[in-house]
């Protein structure tokens, strides 16, 4: 009399068994996998999009350089606006590692109009800024059209528009400032490291003094330093710009601001990730529900398999395998969907599309976990079914 021990189910047979239940009801399988797919797609695309944005920022920063520091007047101890001393720019230029420095000065209380017909007050929020001739090279600005100010036009009424200012004013040959028309000689592209210039209407330093009562005080100094010395330069900039009141000087690094701005959007990302997790949970419940119904409907099949010699463990494994396949179906669909969303979105933003491998692996891992958890209870119920009872159900 041979000892009785049940044969093991081969893995290939187990997979075929798991797939059998799904193939016999394909629509139900697809619908319940859809919940998982949506959850995984949401999470993968959130991670993918923010990673792509990060990759784009890294590229942008690599192109722009992180060696720009700006100096602006802060406030006095009484809370009034401070000013930079007249020789601040010259002093800054003398700092060894500073490779270039230039200044702009905000021309207070001036408004810019498209024509002299616009009623005063409808200013459009544009600011008139006096610029020096070496501005473009230092802030890495480029012209979208026309030309930059030169030694001649800097002394006479002529303006170059920032990108946003140009959009707001439209395609005008000249703008109207303080009773005088200023021909538009050029338009800038967006300046990532000096976004304040996008809203500016730039006039020559001398022209601002002659026609607009500009007081000649720099309101912002842009500097470029040797990359390795940026921190050292940052340490001495305030004291150099205003030796008497270094605490009335604000020094900042615009690339830090760009990074901070992207970081702010990560709160939004965690919200979306949370929503993805909720969708995943609901998807998991959907899979569990499908499996419970499947077990109820297939009692006769369970009874038959028991009579054919399936152990309780083998019945349980069959249903867990089915649940795993079901959620894996959703997981794979979700990962593909998430990648697609990332690629499309990155495409519209002109970002490099990046989906980190850990997000894909994590997504698939999460679906396997969900499949196992969702399938376990129905599978245990299937295995506990008494064979005679299961057969009688048919």
């Amino acid at each position: 009399m041979a000892a009785l021990s049940p044969a093991r189910l081969r893995l290939s047979d187990l997979l075929r068994l798991g797939g059998y239940g799904l193939r016999s009801r394909p629509l139900r399988a697809v619908l319940s996998a859809l919940g998982i797919a949506i959850g995984i797609a949401a999470m993968v695309s959130v991670v993918g999009i923010s990673t792509s944005g990060q990759a784009d920022l890294d590229e942008e920063l690599a192109a722009l350089g992180t060696n720009m520091l700006t100096v602006a007047p802060g406030r006095t101890m009484f809370g009034d606006d401070a000013t930079l001393p007249d020789d601040a720019l010259d002093m800054i230029r003398r700092i060894g590692p500073v490779t270039s420095a230039t200044a702009v000065g905000s021309v207070g209380d001036t408004s810019v109009y498209r024509t002299d017909r616009i009623p005063p007050g409808e200013t459009g929020g544009l600011s008139v800024v006096a610029a020096q001739l070496d501005l473009l090279g230092t802030v890495d600005a480029e012209l979208a059209g026309g030309r930059w100010l030169n030694a001649a036009t800097a002394r006479y009424p002529a303006v170059v528009l920032g990108a946003a200012a140009a959009r707001r004013l439209g395609d005008v040959p000249a703008v109207y400032i303080e009773g005088r028309h200023y021909p538009v000689v050029g338009v800038l592209r967006t300046v990532p490291l000096a976004p304040e210039l996008d809203n500016a209407v730039l006039v020559g330093w001398d022209a601002a003094k002659s026609y607009l009562d500009f007081d000649g005080h720099a309101t912002r100094v842009y500097t470029r330093s040797i990359e390795s010395q940026v921190e050292a330069v940052r340490g001495v900039l305030a004291a150099t710009a205003n030796p008497r009141n270094p605490d009335q000087v604000d020094v900042s690094n615009p690339s830090d601001a760009l990074i901070a701005q992207r970081a702010a959007s990560s709160t939004f990302n965690s919200l979306l990730l949370g929503l993805g997790a909720v969708a995943l949970l609901v998807g998991g419940i959907g899979v569990a529900n499908t499996m419970v119904i499947s077990v109820l409907e297939r009692r006769a099949e369970i009874g038959l398999r028991r009579s054919l010699g399936a152990t309780r463990g083998q019945v349980r494994t069959q249903f867990v395998a089915e649940s795993l396949l079901l959620s894996l179906l959703g997981g794979v669909g979700g990962v593909l969907g998430g990648c697609l969303v990332t690629f499309v979105y990155a495409g519209t933003q002109r970002w490099p599309a990046v989906v980190p491998l850990w997000a894909i692996a994590g997504g698939l891992g999460a679906t396997l976990l969900i499949g196992a958890v969702a399938g376990l209870y129905p599978a245990i119920r299937a295995a506990r079914l008494a064979p005679t009872e299961a057969l009688a159900a048919a």
Binding site: M1, S5, R8, G309, P387
Partner: protein
């Protein structure tokens, strides 16, 4: 003659009902037996106990030399996989799968490789006269043919005992007679066969009858 099935003072009670009262039954190797009786007489309960799908409340059931009471659920499963074949009144065939797959699926728990299962399934189908229906799905087969597929599934693993619970219950008399004839052939080739039936004509045509009434062998 070796004993294949041995029931000794077997009782099976459910809450409020006693389905079997101290039944004794001995079946030798190679027998062909009809278990007859009206519904509710305990035929199916006895078949479930012989098939190790259920355990007795008291008494001893010995199948192929194994005392069922001493075996774990896993061991009973192994016993069913290798030594017992079932045929049911309602066939229990998987709807979307062809005859060959249905029969081969019956060998899933024997540990045989897929190719070997399919080879044996084809042999079994040839043996029951369905050699030309291998690729047919259940809905493409007549009732008699479906039951033949079920019989093929039961005997594909070459079991010591074939248990048939009302195998002709859902068939017209011609198909039913064909299935009984098939069981007779299998028996002639060496398989021990137990058939539950309430058709006295079929029962009378088999070598041995075990008449049952109210949970007892009479």
């Amino acid at each position: 003659m070796t004993t294949v099935i041995e029931l000794e003072r077997v009782t099976k009670s459910y809450p409020g009902v006693t389905a079997l009262h101290e039944v004794d039954l001995t079946v030798g190797h190679g027998e062909l037996i009809a278990i007859v009786g009206p519904s509710g007489s305990g035929k199916s309960t006895m078949l479930n106990l012989i098939g190790t799908l259920d355990r007795p409340t008291s008494g001893t059931v010995r199948i192929d030399g194994h005392d069922v009471a001493s075996l774990s659920d896993r061991q009973l499963s192994a016993l069913r996989a290798r030594r017992i074949g079932f045929v049911f009144q309602s066939f229990h065939l998987a709807p979307g799968r062809d005859a060959r797959t249905n029969v081969a699926d019956g060998l899933l728990y024997t540990g045989l490789a897929r190719r070997e299962r399919e080879r044996r399934a084809e042999n079994a189908l040839v043996r029951v006269g369905l050699g030309d229906r291998l690729g047919h799905r259940p809905h493409q087969l007549s009732g008699g043919e479906r039951q033949r597929v079920a019989v093929a599934r039961a005997v594909a693993g070459d079991p010591a005992v074939l248990l048939a619970d009302e195998p002709t219950g859902n068939l017209d008399s011609a198909s039913g007679a064909g299935v009984v004839e098939l069981l007779r052939e299998l028996n002639a080739a060496g398989t021990t066969v137990l058939v539950i039936t309430h058709d006295h004509e079929i029962a009378g045509s088999l070598p041995r009858q075990v008449p049952m009434l109210d949970g007892r062998v009479v």
